[in-house]
Symmetry: C2
Subunit: 485 residues, 2 copies
């Protein structure tokens, strides 16, 4: 066997699991579809039972809508809530409509409170009324409390299922207590020590309990430096803190400092992904939406995009006005307009590099308010370096390439002298545009944050509009001086 052949075999063995897994899931889905078609429902229920609830939910989502409620009834009772929680609201609604009150009540009580609340927030009023009617008084009260938390808040993503211990318990008592009560809790791996007023005193990880001596008191091994947040803190703060400190969950307290819930790491990841998507969308002049791309209708997508395009289009009246003002001069020096796209794009790109870098750094907490001048000074030096480089290349390029496209009759009237001057005007403008754009791209997002606006709004499209206008002003100011118009 040649070395080459050996290499190929090694490559093959090294294949990634990602595609294999996709194939496995596709096969599983095909098997499920077949079982349903052949009406072998008991077997289908068995296959479903062994699948991960997330995959099962994916399978349900691919079924024709009218079929979902019937198929969902085949799911074994113990799995119902797990799968239900993973479905899109529209499908959940479809299923609820086909359920008896008893079935609905069972699901509602079995769902984790945060999943139930997430769903209720998006369901139409009549369905919510029905849910509230079938829920137990206790669940109803809790749901109502959770519904009151604003959408941005830690309260809106927390769950009420957590374990609280008393500091006087011994570790072995604590472990048996967790064993007795912990089955339904969303995480049993971090427990919270509270006093009789439910005020949080410390945290203790299951690992600590496990490795402690059985007779030690919880109060002796707990970590009393608790990292917590309040229900009204921004959920992004909670998610970032969980990420920063590598926590599995973060306790949430109410205004009286009483422990009312926890945010778990899986919810934190969701928040982190949502917030990144939101930033990206706002930076691209799109109103953020909670829904996945393919679940957003055409009209809704249009509604999220059109107003921004409209405002940005209308804001171009400034650049139009400047150009129109110099209409007569342009009649004489039409070649000047050939550099509009280059100048405006270069300015826009330079500005968006700075703004995007800074917006992202701010949302990752890498830049704080006190770093303002350091950031401006850094961006200024970068902008000068970029400007000098771009200006020089621009000068050469203008002379070497751009003028080649001129019609010969224009070139005829001794244009060489003019061309050098125009190349000079263009490249000096490019320099100024880059420096100005990077300055604006630095200052606007940081300023927005200072006055409590979302910095992401100050990204590329917004900056482009300002930079375009200023670039044109600089361009014509220099040109009119040199060419005397």
């Amino acid at each position: 066997m040649s070395d080459l052949e050996k290499d190929e075999i090694t490559e093959k063995e090294f294949d990634s699991v990602e595609e294999m897994r996709e194939e496995q899931i596709d096969n599983k889905f095909a098997q499920c579809t077949e079982l349903l078609e052949r009406k072998r429902y008991a077997e289908f229920a068995r296959v479903i039972e062994e699948m991960n609830p997330v995959d099962t939910a994916d399978f349900f989502s691919e079924l024709p809508y009218h079929q979902i409620p019937t198929v969902f009834k085949l799911v074994k009772k113990g799995r119902l809530a797990d799968i239900f929680a993973e479905l899109d609201t529209e499908i959940q609604e479809k299923i609820i409509h086909a359920m008896t009150d008893k079935e609905l009540a069972y699901i509602i009580e079995d769902l984790f409170l945060d999943d139930a609340v997430d769903m209720i927030e998006e369901l139409p009023a009549n369905v919510v009324t029905r849910i509230m009617r079938v829920a137990t008084a206790e669940t109803r009260e809790q749901i109502n409390k959770f519904l009151a938390y604003p959408e941005f808040s830690a309260g809106s993503v927390m769950t009420a299922e957590f374990i609280s211990l008393n500091k006087n318990m011994t570790c072995s008592d604590a472990i048996s207590y967790i064993r007795r009560t912990g089955v339904d809790k969303e995480t049993v791996y971090t427990a919270y020590v509270t006093d009789e007023r439910r005020i949080i005193e410390g945290t203790v990880s299951f690992k600590d309990l496990l490795f402690a001596k059985v007779e030690q008191r919880v109060g002796d091994i707990m970590d009393s430096e608790v990292i917590f947040a309040s229900t009204v803190d921004d959920k992004e703060y909670v998610a970032d803190t969980i990420a920063k400190y590598g926590l599995l969950a973060m306790p949430i307290v109410d205004k009286e400092q009483r422990l009312v819930g926890i945010v778990t790491v899986d919810d934190a990841i969701e928040v982190i992904q949502e917030e990144a998507t939101e930033d990206i969308e706002i930076m691209a002049a799109i109103t953020p939406s909670d829904k996945p791309y393919l679940r957003t209708g055409v009209l809704e997508t249009w509604k999220n995009r059109f107003p921004w395009l409209l405002v940005l289009m209308l804001s171009a009246i400034f650049s139009s006005a400047i150009i129109t003002h110099y209409e007569t001069a342009i009649g004489t020096y039409a070649i000047l307009t050939a550099f509009f796209p280059m100048l405006m794009n270069t300015g826009g790109n330079a500005g968006s590099q700075s703004s995007v870098a800074i917006i992202r750094a701010m949302s990752l907490g890498e830049i704080e308010k006190r770093d303002f001048f350091r950031v401006v000074w850094k961006e200024f030096r970068v902008s000068v370096l970029c400007a000098v480089g771009l200006g020089s290349v621009c000068f050469l390029k203008t002379i070497a390439i751009d003028f080649k496209f001129q019609a010969t009759e224009v070139l005829a009237n001794g244009a060489v002298q003019d061309n050098l001057m125009i190349a000079f005007i263009v490249s000096v403008t490019a320099c100024c545009a880059v420096i100005f754009a990077k300055f604006i791209g630095t200052v606007l997002p940081m300023g927005a944050k200072k006055i409590g606006l979302d910095p992401a709004v100050m990204a590329s499209p917004f900056i482009t509009t300002i930079v375009d206008t200023v670039t044109l002003v600089i361009y014509f100011a220099i040109a009119s001086q040199i060419l005397n118009f």
Copy 2:
């Protein structure tokens, strides 16, 4: 007390914890600085010991560089590795230089393997040589194995500290085994069941062990539907899978399917944040960098940005060429140039909305290859809706506002007829530009993915350049037909 006053108090009680915590940390830092200044080192060591290692690392990072190694020696032994792992590589290097071989060996052995490898990857060769010299043979071998995994791979972010069980153990044996061996493992909450060849057979969560009957066998309660990945899978796949299924850790196997490590949820969050930053940077025409914004030098920042600006600037020769080609016509109809910025920006913004939305949806796994036509068809309908709206408003705006800025001598020669025609040309071009831009913005990222390129490269700046050129071609094609030039 008036209602207003009551409200104010409630508001105050509802204050968020975020700012309070920032203040607490600032105070703690001030206290530490003071203790250091007064040379009360024992007390300083005690305060540090109670602080979270992440915060302590932040404190060290703010000290003057030359002071760090001395202060670091005050940290109690048990805390050294935890704090050390959180520091930036430059600071780690500084500290290593000041350490004796014995101290260094202690830290290296105490670090989690993935943290040690992360550090070694960025240290200069001579420091790495020294680390390898002081490490035990076993650690050295493991480090070398980990260093061989490519940067994008699951292998590069996994950790070798995990718990493996045998399926014939009883649950109570398993728990005592974990108690005996688990202290150093990065997570004890998920254990992996392997056979004698170390091939993975199942996972069992600590929760399952805890709630099982003590005499049950691990093999009976384990979940044999293991979600795993290979060392050569993309780390992004691993992170997204952890997020999707809400896992605390994901097992990683080598080419012979043997369990060699796990990726924990805290590392997955880091990957998710890094990848989002990378996408955002590439979309803004910046070469991504691993380092935080303020830790990147001016020259490095310049190097990440300048080449893109240069290429994009040079690519503007196409739009310049088109405009130059029509120089004579522009001499007559200079007013046409007033709409360059508006047309190009509208096209660019429309295109970047689509491309960014699609790039993000692809990276979140919301769009698969098979959805290609669905996505194109959706974007086409959205683009037509946007185009019609923008075209109409554009026509009205052009007539009502833009012509007002013309110099009177231009307006004099019976310009009304011309103006209507020009407004028509402009708005039809805007329509076409929006539809074309959204098409390009849809097709390019998906095409890039298909041929294995990073879709993020096909975002705004790249699309702007194409859209600019095509918009100008459409503009002059329509104008030359209607105005006969």
